[in-house]
Homo-oligomer: 378 residues x 2
């Protein structure tokens, strides 16, 4: 039996400064940068029990636990990570990191460029999944972790985990990739493009250099988030959650909020526009668009993964139409082609793409069993 | 064998003026209004061969043929309507009409309100499917058509055809409803809401009264159209059409056009913003949101359709995720419950919602057969 589940407790974000230049795939170089990270659990003497959690679009280094001075600020994967939880921090040493280009403390477009004394804004390098993984690898080295027991993530986080297995085959024992795709489809890119256009055509965007104008392109960010939310949920889940319920019981014959689903989307959009950085949104969606590890192998994912050594857990959700199960099966096929050990689960869950963050007992039990098994092999 | 297919030829739009006030479902009254319409074929002596074509979101009265002074301006359903075509204008007298609230000549938000001398703008009544059908019925009466052989449409046009059968059971012999739904889902409403927010938060919208400011909320209209286009196409169709093809063969590391799909969406958005009216977009999406004939019958569509007398052709497309086949089957169930004659076809087509406008030979053959059969019964 698993131990009783507990919170990772009061946690403290930390900053790691790097003054070794980071060369991006684009050719641009960042001379120095900071990464924000958090850790949960204890690194064992053999340094063999570390797990890296990669975040998706709007999340951060704050994976689990809470802050002593802000107890409601609970980590985004708190149901997954903690003492006795599926990824058990009584056994594993878990690291969450905010990626470079982010807006939660790591160096990003809103950070001050010491050379100019101004925010990077539009001059911040276009970052790729490969660049993030490279920066994460440096952080691991600085933390004394030569090899991760596992690298894990959902959605864009899963892409980073996949890239880890390709770029650093000797540094990743296992990969957990949930709600994943090996590359975006044209439809995925199309939704990103609309979100980006909403931001870049907002008059408050100022070509990305809005910081000095005392404004934020909130109109664009709100729309971007609203579009995102629709794609994170399934049609059925939205129907179940909101249906055609009216806010005031009756049709108002106007273009303001009539339906509950409109109210929900506006609320989510407004909230997001308050805390998220518009340039980070552009960077992250572009990183999603550009990720395509098979491309260099002529589109052959199996060939692209021929040097991978990790075992895998791949899980998808039936109602996820953003990254449908067939996208996960592309990864599974490449693993099988390379005779790599892979556990694949297609979970019949109604919640859409967001299911990877939710409390589905079959999903959490699967992850628990996989990490139990992995632990026995360390 | 069918006759050789021909164009409906050079056609001429006409205007019908109404000075009987039109009371909208919202309670607002329009004292006088114009409807633009076109006709193809000849009304027979018995006045029994008339077919009304209802348009969807961005279309108009210009259903078939072309204009003598603008030969490239071909009707939006020209593959369906004309001499020898599936809806054969050698047999049927076909009417296309631009709905009230539209922006192609019928009285709409951009029209001048004679009481103020200014464009209606934000004061234009919020229009519903029921209102459109009422206005169409008046037009029919003025044209001497007491009873339509058929009323037809795809998507929002299908909703109007459905409403015809409910509101005027004695005036509709048959209904053809393609790519239909009896009401929007929460996800459908959500996409409309994002499109509307893009328009209403565009600083050039001026609360709907932008006409006097010499501007148009083009940024918002572009985004609205881009979102629309994504939902009209299937994921597979987009992948087939664009894939991940790059405009310049290589990644540009910027937020401008890199992928072909981005270029396509921008082009469609730009084009749309030039010719479409922002207030009409709001009105039409709201009409979609509000349509729910079953609501008054406690959510029971069968009950709502208990007085319907028409025969039906219902057709859906397997890859249509905007109005999936299951939405059409809701209509079919209500028809079967009421012992009404219905032909239902679920067409295995890859093109998504837009399939109803395309040249799928099985689809067009089905429509042809159904209209042949209907003609024999006139």
């Amino acid at each position: 039996m698993a131990n009783e589940e507990q919170s990772a407790g009061a946690v403290r974000p930390q900053t790691m400064h790097f003054d070794t230049p980071l060369a991006f795939r684009s050719g641009t170089v960042l001379d120095a940068y900071d990464l924000m990270y958090e850790t949960y659990g204890t690194l064992n003497a053999a340094r063999s029990n570390a797990v890296l959690v990669c975040h998706a679009l709007n999340a951060s280094h704050h994976v689990a636990g809470y802050y002593a001075d802000d107890p409601d600020n609970i980590g985004w994967w708190d149901n997954m990570v903690g003492p006795g939880k599926p990824l058990d921090t009584d056994r594993y040493f878990v690291i969450g990191v905010n990626n470079v280009g982010g807006c939660f403390g790591s160096t990003g477009p809103a950070s001050i460029n010491t050379k100019t004394g101004l925010a990077y804004g539009s001059s911040f390098p276009v970052v790729t999944v490969e660049d993030w993984v490279k920066a994460q690898a440096r952080l691991a080295t600085r933390l004394g972790i030569e090899r991760f027991a596992a690298v894990m993530g959902g959605s864009l986080g899963a892409m980073q985990a996949l890239q880890w297995s390709i770029a650093y085959p000797d540094r990743v024992g296992a990969v957990m990739a949930v709600a994943a795709a090996p590359k975006l489809s044209a439809q995925n890119i199309a939704f990103n493009e609309v979100a980006r256009r909403a931001i870049t055509t907002d008059p408050d965007f100022h070509g990305g250099d809005f910081y000095g104008h005392g404004v934020k392109p909130k109109r664009g960010l709100r729309l971007a988030r609203m579009i995102g939310h629709i794609t994170y949920l399934s049609d059925d889940a939205m129907m179940e959650k909101f249906g055609r319920a009216l806010r005031n019981g009756t049709i108002g014959y106007h273009f303001d909020v009539d339906f509950e689903v409109e109210s929900y989307l506006r609320y989510q959009g407004d909230k997001f526009a308050e805390y998220f950085d518009a340039n980070t949104y552009l960077l992250i969606t572009r990183a999603l668009d550009y990720f395509d590890p098979a491309e260099a192998a002529g589109g052959d994912l199996s060939k692209a993964m021929s040097k991978v050594k990790s075992r895998f857990l791949v899980a998808s959700f039936t109602s996820d139409w953003r990254f449908s199960p067939s996208r996960s099966r592309e990864i599974v096929k490449a693993l099988v082609d390379n005779r790599l050990p892979v556990t694949y689960a297609e979970i019949d869950a109604p919640h859409g793409h967001d299911a990877f963050l939710l409390d589905d007992s079959r999903y959490l039990a699967l992850v628990r069993a996989w990490y139990d098994d992995l632990y026995a092999s360390l």
